[in-house]
């Protein structure tokens, strides 16, 4: 495609030829002809041969706020020069360049490669894709430009941040959710015998069953049953109302951080954790333990978007039958715009669950983006206090979570209302 400069040069050339012909002036005609010739000669060569692009990421999964190192290797596989080539790696607009640059102007010889290295900061959780790679070939004299792209994508998941909450749980009045160790009939670390199996290199010597070795002549090791302490249910509110606040600070963001941190804490203790996210619809991850479950939970949380208006009562009605008896339930919700929360909590408590409501203060989040008159703020705050008090009266532990408060601080502030 011609650039503006080429169009002007061509038009100028034609105009000079015509004017030169009109007034029989050779200089004008020759200047015009030279300009047209310049365009013609430059049209012979077009850039960009066979470009191969390879992107390497420092990680496919990151936590929110982490840095991502990206390296883009651009190779000219053709037998000609690329000419003036602008390479631009498209990055999601939510990510910010921390160092380096995601573009380069280059002119690769046949077979030559160039590396573009840059670092991205990932301030928002989510599922992202880096790419495609945009290529813009320019004529040396900026007479022609051609845009293309290489459809090369790299997917990555940004998990919510994990906060350290162990100390908070030790010191808080949050329910000590030990319903007694349960033996699961699956091999793993535990105390009860599960089975005998052949020794494989790497097994600790203390697990070797010497009697079995003496009997069979083969090295055998004892396998134990995995102990799980409890099943924990996390209900996360992702309704549209949870977007109140800024992009980085809103009830949903804080909710995902707390859900991820709680899950990490309990999974580390070898408990089973279930996650239910409700908003537009209901997604439910059955209770399980281990790294796989941890990854599943983080992946689910990474993709949460604020939408829908499903009430909590609908969630509990649908899921309470699946909850293990007496297991603790964490409800993470701002409790705004949902009149069914007290009834749902009452229902859960009535079924013998230990319910903890972690409620990010949406009024205070709203204050971050818009000015609320003091009187209105006080009234809204009072309404919220009443709502939380009602929940506490239903038998739940209620945590009023302010925007500037750390998760561990919030957990330690559990009070009976």
């Amino acid at each position: 495609m011609w650039t503006r400069k080429a169009a002007f040069t061509f038009t100028g050339g034609i105009a000079l030829i015509l004017i030169g012909m009109m007034i029989t002036n050779n200089q004008m005609m020759i200047l015009g002809l030279a300009l047209i010739t310049f365009i013609v000669v430059n049209s012979w060569v077009s850039g960009h041969g066979d470009i191969e692009v390879q992107r390497t990421l420092s990680a496919d999964n990151l936590y929110k706020g982490d840095d991502l190192y990206v390296e883009l290797l651009v190779t000219n596989r053709s037998n000609r020069r690329t000419q003036l080539l602008d390479v631009y790696d498209n990055i999601p607009h939510e990510m910010k360049l921390r160092s380096g640059l995601n573009q380069m102007r280059l002119n690769l010889k046949p077979g030559e490669s160039a590396r573009i290295r840059y670092v991205l900061r990932c301030p928002l959780r989510g599922h992202y894709s880096i790419g495609p790679v945009s290529l813009r070939v320019r004529n040396t004299f900026n007479l022609g430009v051609e845009d293309m792209y290489v459809d090369h994508h790299s997917d990555l998941v940004i998990f919510p941040q994990i906060k350290e909450v162990e100390e908070a749980f030790l010191r808080s009045r949050t329910p000590k959710m030990y319903t007694g160790a349960t033996t699961l009939r699956t091999p793993g670390q535990g105390s009860e015998f599960y089975s005998l199996r052949e020794y494989v290199p790497g097994d600790p010597f203390k697990n070797i069953n010497w009697k079995a070795f003496a009997r069979t002549g083969d090295l055998m090791v004892n396998e134990k049953c995995r102990d799980a302490v409890t099943d924990l249910y996390i209900l996360l509110d992702s309704r549209d109302v949870s977007r109140i606040g800024t992009v980085l600070k809103n009830p949903l963001e804080m909710g995902t951080v707390s859900a991820a941190s709680l899950a990490a804490f309990f999974l580390k203790r070898r408990d089973s954790v279930a996650l239910s996210i409700y908003g537009d619809g209901l997604s439910y991850l059955p209770p399980d333990t281990g790294d796989k479950q941890y990854f599943k939970i983080l992946s689910s949380l990474a993709g949460v978007k604020p939408e829908g208006s499903m009430p909590l009562q609908a969630v509990t009605n649908s899921l309470s039958g699946r909850f293990s008896r007496g297991s603790p339930v964490f409800v993470i919700s701002s409790c705004e715009g949902d009149g069914t929360v007290p009834a749902a909590v009452r229902d859960l408590v009535g079924r013998g669950h230990e319910v903890t409501v972690l409620s990010p203060s949406s009024i205070d989040f709203e204050r971050l983006v818009s000015r609320i008159p003091r009187m209105s703020y006080e009234v809204l705050k009072l309404e919220r206090q009443n709502r939380l008090t009602t929940l506490a009266g239903s038998g739940a532990q209620v945590i009023d979570w302010m925007p500037d408060m750390d998760l561990s601080q919030a957990i330690m502030q559990v009070r009976g209302f």
Binding site: S43, R81, L97, N107, A114, R117, T140
Partner: protein
């Protein structure tokens, strides 16, 4: 502890200072300097071509000075500066050098701090005012004070204004004549697009005005003064310059082609330098130190140099062939057929006049443009390059 400090990846381990894309370093890079020198040579050459074609012995500055001297009096600038008394193009040698120096100093000033620039400008204005009215004030004011008489300056005192006024007028005449050189030099070395635009614009403006003034109808109205203006009878004379055994253009046409090509060389080199330096300037600090960016900047600059030399030479040659294409066609037809028809056509004056020339030239250029669809130039050149190319495998660096 010094022992624990590793060299950074951008530090050259091959000895010497690490190359970066900081402007301070980039401005000293040989490709940038070469482009600037090429642009300057093209500017001076273009100016000399324009001057020798249209101005010398016609409307040159020495003639203006002579007229001025005959009307007012001796011009205070020495003849060795103005070029009076010299013949032909030699009249412009010293003024061009002065223009280059002035343009260079203006470029140098552009890189100084705003405070220093302001001081220099202030100093220049004070110098100008002092030289203009200084002598008058030094004679007139003390004489009033000592005689205690408030009076207008006398004839003799007013004559002290003559020299500075003539000096400023002469300098202004020289400045106007040298405007393309001064502004062009300032643009190239001071990295100013506007100045380069001024230099090109002023040259084109001059060519345009000259074309209008030499239009027969207007020229006849200008009388004796118009008779001084040079007109180029380039069409009807026989071509003597050519390539591949074909006589394509007249020396006058070659001069005009040269002007056109040199304007393009000047423009593309001057703007090219600014474009690349701007790109380097906008890069973040980490990229300026990245050897990959440095290497690719080298590639880009080398490519620009190659294209400037190659494409603009080819442009000149193609324009020559385009202008002489009608004669080439006729020569081919007459030599191949030897027919009477070819002889008759070759004698047709219409073909060698404006319309025939332009139409045949545009026909040739259309054919040349179509050639891109038949000859894969990029592949041909790529093949030639890859034969002699010994691209090294990229060095594996530590991974994160």
């Amino acid at each position: 502890m010094a022992g624990e400090v590793d060299p950074q990846s951008d530090v050259s381990l091959l000895g010497g200072r690490p190359r970066t894309l900081h402007l301070k370093m980039l401005r000293k890079q040989w490709q940038i300097i070469t482009l600037q020198v090429v642009a300057t040579i093209a500017l001076v050459w273009m100016y000399l071509e324009v001057v020798s074609t249209y101005v010398v012995n016609s409307i040159d500055h020495t003639m203006v000075f002579e007229t001025l001297e005959s009307l007012v009096g001796e011009v205070p600038i020495g003849d060795w500066i103005t070029g009076e008394g010299r013949q032909g193009l030699a009249r412009f040698y010293v003024p061009i050098i002065l223009g280059l120096l002035l343009g260079g100093s203006m470029a140098l000033m552009a890189f100084q701090s705003p405070k220093l620039q302001q001081r220099i400008k202030l100093g220049f204005i004070i110098l100008l005012m002092t030289s203009l009215v200084g002598r008058l004030l030094l004679t007139w004011v003390p004489s009033m004070i000592f005689s205690l008489d408030f009076r207008a300056p006398s004839e003799g005192e007013l004559q002290t204004l003559e020299w500075p006024l003539l000096m400023i007028l002469s300098l202004m005449i020289l400045f106007v004549y040298l405007l393309p050189v001064i502004m062009g030099t300032r643009g190239i070395w001071g990295l100013s697009r506007r100045s380069i635009g001024w230099a090109i614009g002023f040259t084109l403006l001059f060519l345009g005005i000259h074309a209008i003034l030499t239009f027969p109808l207007i020229k006849s109205q200008l009388g004796d003064w118009g008779a001084n203006l040079k007109t180029l009878e380039t069409q009807v004379s026989d071509p003597t310059i050519g390539i591949f055994g074909f006589d394509l253009v007249t020396p006058e046409q070659l001069s005009l082609i040269l002007i056109a090509v040199l304007i393009m060389v000047f423009q593309e080199s001057g703007f090219g330098v600014i474009r690349y330096l701007e790109y380097a300037y906008r890069l973040p600090e980490s990229c300026k130190r990245d050897p990959e960016y440095v290497k690719q900047m080298d590639n880009v600059l080398n490519g620009h140099l190659r294209h400037t030399a190659g494409f603009l030479t080819v442009t000149g040659l193609m324009t020559m062939i385009a202008l002489g294409f009608h004669s080439v066609l006729l020569e081919i037809v007459s030599s191949s057929t030897g027919s009477q028809w070819a002889a008759q056509v070759s004698e047709s004056i219409e073909l060698s006049l404006t319309y025939g020339l332009v139409i045949s030239a545009l026909l040739f250029l259309s054919l040349v443009a179509l050639m891109r669809f038949f000859i894969p130039w990029e592949r041909v050149w790529g093949l030639i390059e890859s034969l002699g190319n010994k691209t090294q495998e990229p060095v594996e660096e530590k991974k994160f």
